[in-house]
Each structure stands twice: as C-alpha cells, then as structure tokens.
Symmetry: C2
C-alpha cells in the first residue's frame, strides 16, 4: 500500500498526464519514474560533451557515447554511418528486429547543437556543464543539486546546450526502447535508430549518408524527434515543413558617395529605390503582390483543414509575449499564415545610421529576402517570380555588380543573388494508415488534445529522406516551448523529457 | 625684351585668363607669377601643420602661423578672437584701414581641416607632408620636387589636407592684400580678416565669437572664400546656402528577433513597414508627397532666375562621372534641384545583410533622413511636416522606445528623434549695390562667364553672420572642382591658387 502511494506520488511529479488510457503507457510511466535517477545521470554525462558540428573530435566523443548507450541496451548492428566526405561527424545507427513485426519505424534525432557564446549565458551557467533548476530561470527558478534519491519534479529544468535540441530526443528514443524491454513489453515494429551530427550546420552531408546507406535505412516511416511542443503546452504532431530560399537584392546608384546637399534629390537614392521596390511586393493587408506568388500551392486536404481548424489559437498569447498589437497579414491566424508561402525581409542596409550616419547619398542599398515555401512551390520557380516582379518594376537584373556600360544603359540596376540552393517543402499525408497509427499511439499518452499541424513554419531538410530513400516522415517534438533552442540558456523541462520517453515508447508499441 | 617674354610665359603658366580686362588685374597676375616661389614655400610650411579641429594644440600652431603671416605684411590689430568656451580653437583676426574708404569688406576662410585617415591616402602621400604633382594623380600626375626657381605650372597640384579646404583661401586672401601693396596699388575698402578654426567640426563656437566681438566684426559684406569653383571649370559666386536638419526614424515590431519560418508574414516586419513609410514620402517622379513640403519657399527673384538659367549645365557630365543614367527628380536639372527643399535617405538599417544575415524578422528598422532647406523654410516647421505625414500614415510617434503599454495600444509605433538642431537657409540678394560691385570685380579677372548661383546645395552656418552681426555674406570659392575636399588625397591646383589671389585682390581694389 505504501509502495503504491509512493509510486503515484512520483508519477505525478514527473509526468504530465496521470490518467493515460492504456496499461502499456502506465507501465512506461512507472518505469520512467522509478529510473529517473539513472536516466538523468546518463543524460547529464551526455550533456557534458561539447557538441558543435564544426568540432569533429568533440563530435566523435558524442557518437561514441551514443553507441555505448545503444550497445548497453542490446540494440543491434550499432555502427557509425559515414559520409563520402572525409572528416565530417558520422550518423550513429542501430536497429532491433522484432519477431513477427512487418513494418519498420526509424527514429531520428541529432546530437549536434548550435554554436555557443558562453558570455551570453546567465550567470553561473556554462553551456557544457548541465545544471538543475527548480523552474525556468526567468520564472524565478533556482539552482539545486541533482537529487541523490532520483526523485525529480516535472517543472524542474536542466540547463545546457543540447538539453532540448536535440540530445533530449536521443535520450527519449533510446530510453523508450529500454523501458519497453525492461518492463517486459515488446515493440510492435522493427526499430531503427539514426542520430545525425550535423543538423544545426544545415545537414550538409546528410544526403551522402542517406544515399550511401540506402538499403540499411529502408523503413515505413521516419519519426523525427526534434523541436518544441505547441505554444499552448499541448503535444503536437507535425506532418511537414516549409521550404526556404533566400535572395539578396542590391540596388545601385552613384559610383561614389555623394554630398546630400550638393546632389540630394537630383542623384538617385538607392535606399529610396529599394524602399519603393520592397514596398511594391506587398499590399497594405500584408499579401504578397508578386504575380502568381500564391499559385502552385497544393491545397490542404479536408483532414488537414480540419486539423488546422482545431489547432489551439496562440495568437493573442504570442502578440502579448512579442509586444505587438497587430499582425502583418490582416485577418490571418498564425496557423493559417504558416500554411502559405511567405516573403520576408531578413535584413536591409544602406549607408549608415546612428553615430556613423553622415549627410550622404549612399552608393547602394541591400536587402535579404527569405521566401518560405509550401507544398507545390518549387524554390527556383518561386525565386523567378520575385525576379520577374523586379523586372516588371523597371529594373535591369544582373548577378554581378554593374559595369560602366550597364550603368550608362539602364536607369534602374539591381544585383539579385542567392547564397545557396533552396529547399522545397515536404508534407506527409495524414490519411496514411501508418500515420493514423502514430496519431492514435500519441493519443494514448494524454487526455488532452493532440495538435495536428499539416506543416511547421520552419524548414528542415526532410525532402532529403523523400529524395534519397523515398521515405515518409513525421515530426514529433518533445521539448518545452520555452526551451531557448539555438540561443543562450537552452533547457529541457524534466516533465517534457519523461513525456518524450512515454510518447516514443507508445509509438513503438502501438498495434 | 627677353624679360618680357619670360614674364608672359610664366604668366601663361600659372594663371588661367591671360586677357584680363583691367590693368590692376594684370599687375596682380604679374606679382603672383614673379613671387610664386615664396608664396608656395610659405603655403607648404602652413600645410605641414596638422589642423584637425579637435586638436587645440595643433590648432594654436596654425593660428600662430596665420598671425605671423599677417603681421609680416603689415596687417594691423592682429589678434586671436576667443569663444567664451575655454579650450576651443580661436579665430584669427586682422584689419587694414584704408584712407578714404567708406565701406568695409571682411574676408573669411577657415584653417581647420577634416579629420584624416592616412591609410586611405594614395601611396607615398601623407596628409601633412605636402607634395607637388604634375597633374591630378588619377589623371597620371607624378610627384616632382618643388622647383627651386619658383616657376610653377597651372596644372600642377599640391596634395595635403587643407590644401584646398581651406588653407588655400587663407593663402589667397592674405597674398591678395600683399600683392596689392607690393605692386604699389591700393584697396578701395577697409579690409578685415577672419579665419575660423572649427568650420569642419560644424562651427560649434562661432556664434560665441561673433556675439562677443560684434563691434570689431562690423562690415558691409562678408566674403566667404571656401569650396570649389563650378564643375564646368568656370568661376562662380554663390549667394546663399541651403539649411539642413536630420531626422532619425525607428519603426518597432516584435520585442525579440523571430524565426522567419515560424512567424514570418504573421508578425509585423519592421523593414517592410519602414520601406512602405519611406516609399510613401515620394512619388515616382521623385517629388516629395508630404503635405505642404514645398510651401514656405521664398521664390527666386527675376535676377536669380535669370542667373540660374545661365548656370552651365553639368548634368550630363555628372551623370557620366557618377555612373548613373537617370536622375531622381524627373525633368529637373541639378541647378533647379538645389533650389528646392529635399528629403534624402542618408542611411537605412534593419537586421543584417551579407554574411551576418539570418532567417529572422528583425525587431526594428531605422532610417536617417536629411532635409535640406531653402529660403523661407523653417527647420522646425519642415521637420513637423514629416512627422505629420508619419502620423497620417497611422503611426504612433514617440521620442523614446515604446513601453509595453504603448506596444499593446498601438499597431504602428515609431520613434522620431533629431540628433541636433537644424540650420536655416540663407540667401543674399544679388541686387545689392555692394554685391553688384563684387560681381563686377570678379568679372575683371576673366573673359569667361562667371556662374552666379542663388544658393549652393550644401549647408554652411552663414545664418550666424546674419543673426549675430546682421551681416550680408557672399561665397567666392577658388578651389578646383576635383579637389577631394573632406576625403583622402585632398589637393589644390596651382592655377586655382593663383587665380584665387587675383580674384580676392580684384574685389579688394574694385571701385
């Protein structure tokens, strides 16, 4: 009786949803609670390993650590998958063949983290010295030692680079399998594990690894465990990502900076020219006015539309948090906005402002545009629409700085370049039977709504899985929304880590 | 006979206009040619003295040098005029009372120069080590020693900071008086000399000096010897300056930088907001669309209009030089443009471009505007027109960063500040009898047209002379158009220096 009482108390402390629906989920939660001390001890050791993608020696230590985690738990064929390019961090692979299983799930997370600037972290924090706090630091959390008795509370947080993005994913996936086995349960799928080491660097060699190990990496579905849960605090499953491509525009005027008194309003001003050009790309309701910009979009299916309608609104919460009282695209919710292609100004510069400002007419003005793409868009075609618009505004478009001849010939001259290839959007249909099973599995972990997002606003190179493996993907994030990923003071909420184990295990087991 | 031949040869070498109209002018030219060696030797010593306004010790040496130049030539009451503020460079004063003279001319030039960045100067050049070249460096001029026999050619150039802007002015004014006296001629006016030491720093203490020494500085006309002659190569007289005032605009959006994928085109983009705002300030023909922007302008007199019509067109020459094939204000010549108030973007910045660019929505966007003013404009009223326009575009205008309350209340928030007080325009009527005499005097020095400009495009604090002394001013530049003033490789063309002496002397003597 007393033992039962303790179990329920601990359970309440580190998992969110006490009234889960399936006995399997209850069992996994119990395992998590009882083994929290060891799970976090190992996680903490993992977080001590610096994991910047540009440091191959550090990355090798992380890869070795993960291999050891898997081997200890009886995962088979544990190995490093290397790219053809020499000296880049390998992916770590392992697999489990389950008797009687007919389908294979492959679980993805990444072990590299964003570069760190220790000076930006809060006092007392070091990116690679994980510390436990009683809450988020900006909510008054204080540093406490890791408890010797292994009893953790769900609102506690571990601060370290990679704590949420994405070593938490690796921890949750491997421990989910461990929890299933140690609890005497069994997966319902063959399982594969794939942990990348270059995601934060833009996955520059992922295509090499996928192409080289095509047959090893065959599966029925990739489960991408990365990113935060919904801003409402609800779990979410994301079925796609937007694509992305950049354009840098540089408008040229006089060859040398001019005295604004002697030549102002006679000589062309590149900042004003650029302002007019950018201004012509959107109307006053925030819609892009470039011809055909919203064409090509593959419409959402009925199921996707329904899911989108059910996404909890965080618009007012986010407006308050961001200190804004109006949105750019009038009458469009955040959920709707991320299902459309966008045109966004990332940066804009001409002459100087502030203390360096001088009474001059600058020689050029530059803007960087970021075009997010949805399913149906092609990054080259979308870029070309922008270029066609610029031409229709009377510009001579070139990819290089203008020559004297061009300057003499054309009144309006612009250089348009793209610093890298674009990435198309990817979206997996919610209707697929295996996807329906995943949704059902996640539903067994909570009584709350599961947010089903047709796409996330951001971009991941998920098209690579489609391109090189003809694979389907679905993204299931576990980190808390306020995890500070990519920035200083990155953290994972204990409750989210353990709910992550429960979610991954429920997917592995679901029949 | 041989002597005559040499005289004409030398005369041809260092002065532009051999067929001057008056015997006095011929005499002064002869003096210049015969004394070129000594004049340039002294000028060169002067150029060795560093003359940055922020260096009071260096400036004192310059002031002492000028006092010595004047004393040697018998100029009287030579003294330093100090501001009330301690530690700022003094003005250098001197005067000559001419028997029978009823009117007084006061000649102005400044001895301070723009700050220097020696690294930007051409190889072999040091800002404060004057060197002689056979032509402009960018036209293939080569360095030669200063000739021992004092025979200079008009196309030669001296390179040094201050060579043209504005130690050439001081040199021309003092040597003009010297040439008159040494040639046995006489001035027709009482003469005063006023050489400022802080012009390039924006004359921050000039008003103190003028106010403190009001009675000493009384005159009938200030002759401002500063700046370059007309781009056509013709001499010019300038009767006014434009005023100027700046405004810095900062549009605010989200409090923290946002991921452009997750929030782009939902959250407001400050760069796009600023682009639209700036764009609303001008139409496609380059006219300012701000309500009442061109009101208040005092129309040009008939004489001023006629003079303006006669200004040689340099538009095509400048377009070629600047590498532009169209102007901002369609159908308006450069001469016309500088007789109108302007709105110019000096600088614009939001987020980052180039290597620092990231896929973000910036938190703010800033632009610096420069408003040039013509006679009739008041800088405060002109600023207010811009602010009224911004309000009419739906902005909440503040002078500080927005508070959370303001962010919640207003959809469009902008900070509008001005870093310093403005300066109004100034213009002296061409009809005044004393002005007519000055024009006639300059005409005696050349058969070419004298360009009469109602105003220059730039701004000088000439309104101070009007305000504190109720004085009239007229600007008579002597430097070559391509003198690189304010920049690296500043230079004076020898011909322009000696023509400057001739012009100043002709004004002093004209009856």
């Amino acid at each position: 009786m007393k033992k039962y009482f303790i179990f329920f108390l601990l359970s309440f402390l580190i998992v969110e949803s006490v009234s889960a629906q399936s006995p399997e989920v209850i069992t996994i939660k119990k395992y998590g609670t009882e083994n929290a001390g060891n799970i976090i001890k190992e996680f903490s050791e993992f977080l001590y390993l610096p994991n910047v993608a540009a440091d191959p020696v550090g990355q090798q230590k992380n890869a070795d650590f993960i291999m050891n985690m898997m081997t200890k738990r009886g995962i088979q064929k544990v190995q490093l998958l290397r790219a053809n390019t020499v000296g880049v961090p390998p992916a770590v692979y392992g697999e489990v063949n389950v008797p009687g299983a007919t389908k294979t799930l492959i679980f993805y997370a990444h072990y590299d983290g964003q570069p760190v600037n220790p000076a930006q972290w809060a006092k007392g924090l070091e990116p690679f010295q994980p510390k436990l706090f009683t809450d988020a630091i900006n909510k008054g959390g204080t540093n406490i030692p890791f408890p010797a008795d292994g009893s953790y509370k769900s609102e506690w947080r571990i601060y370290a680079r990679g704590a949420s993005d994405d070593k938490a994913g690796i921890n949750a996936i491997i421990n989910a399998y461990d929890a299933i086995i140690k609890s005497g349960l069994a997966p319902n799928y063959n399982l594969k594990f794939f942990f990348e080491g270059e995601e934060e660097a833009g996955s520059p060699h992922l295509h090499e690894i996928l192409e080289k190990h095509q047959s090893l990496l065959q599966s029925d579905l990739w489960i991408i465990c990365d990113g935060p849960i919904h801003q409402s605090g609800k779990k979410q499953i994301i079925f796609g990502v937007r694509g992305d491509v950049n354009l840098e525009l540089t408008v040229y005027a006089s060859k040398r900076p001019l005295h604004s008194g002697h030549y102002g309003n006679w000589a062309p001003n590149p900042a004003m020219m650029l302002a007019k050009l950018l201004s012509s790309m959107k109307d006053d309701t925030g819609r892009v006015t470039i011809k055909g910009f919203y064409d090509d979009v593959t419409p959402l299916s009925l199921l996707e539309k329904k899911s989108l309608d059910e996404v909890p609104s965080v618009d007012e919460q986010m407006k308050k948090e961001l200190g804004i009282s109006a949105v750019e695209m009038k009458g469009v919710t955040l959920s709707e906005a991320i299902n459309q292609p966008t045109l966004n100004i990332n940066g804009m510069q001409s002459g100087n402002v502030g203390k360096m400002a001088s009474n001059q007419i600058p020689t050029y003005a530059t803007a960087v545009l970021d075009l997010r793409l949805v399913l149906g868009n092609d990054w080259k075609r979308q870029q070309q629409k922008v270029i066609n618009h610029i031409k229709a505004e009377g510009y001579y478009v070139s990819e290089t700085e203008p020559t004297d001849e061009e300057r003499e010939k054309y009144a309006k001259i612009i250089k348009v370049v793209s610093n890298s290839d674009g990435v198309n959007a990817q979206r997996t249909s919610m209707d697929l039977p295996i996807i329906q099973k995943v949704i059902a599995a996640v539903k067994t972990t909570t009584q709350n709504q599961i947010v089903l997002q047709p796409t996330m606003g951001g971009t991941l190179p998920l098209f690579l899985f489609e391109k090189y493996l003809k694979a389907k993907t679905v993204t299931i994030p576990i980190a808390n929304h306020d995890n500070n990923q990519h920035a200083e003071n990155e953290n994972i909420r204990i409750g989210n880590l353990f709910e992550g184990i429960v979610m991954m295990a429920s997917i592995m087991m679901f029949k």
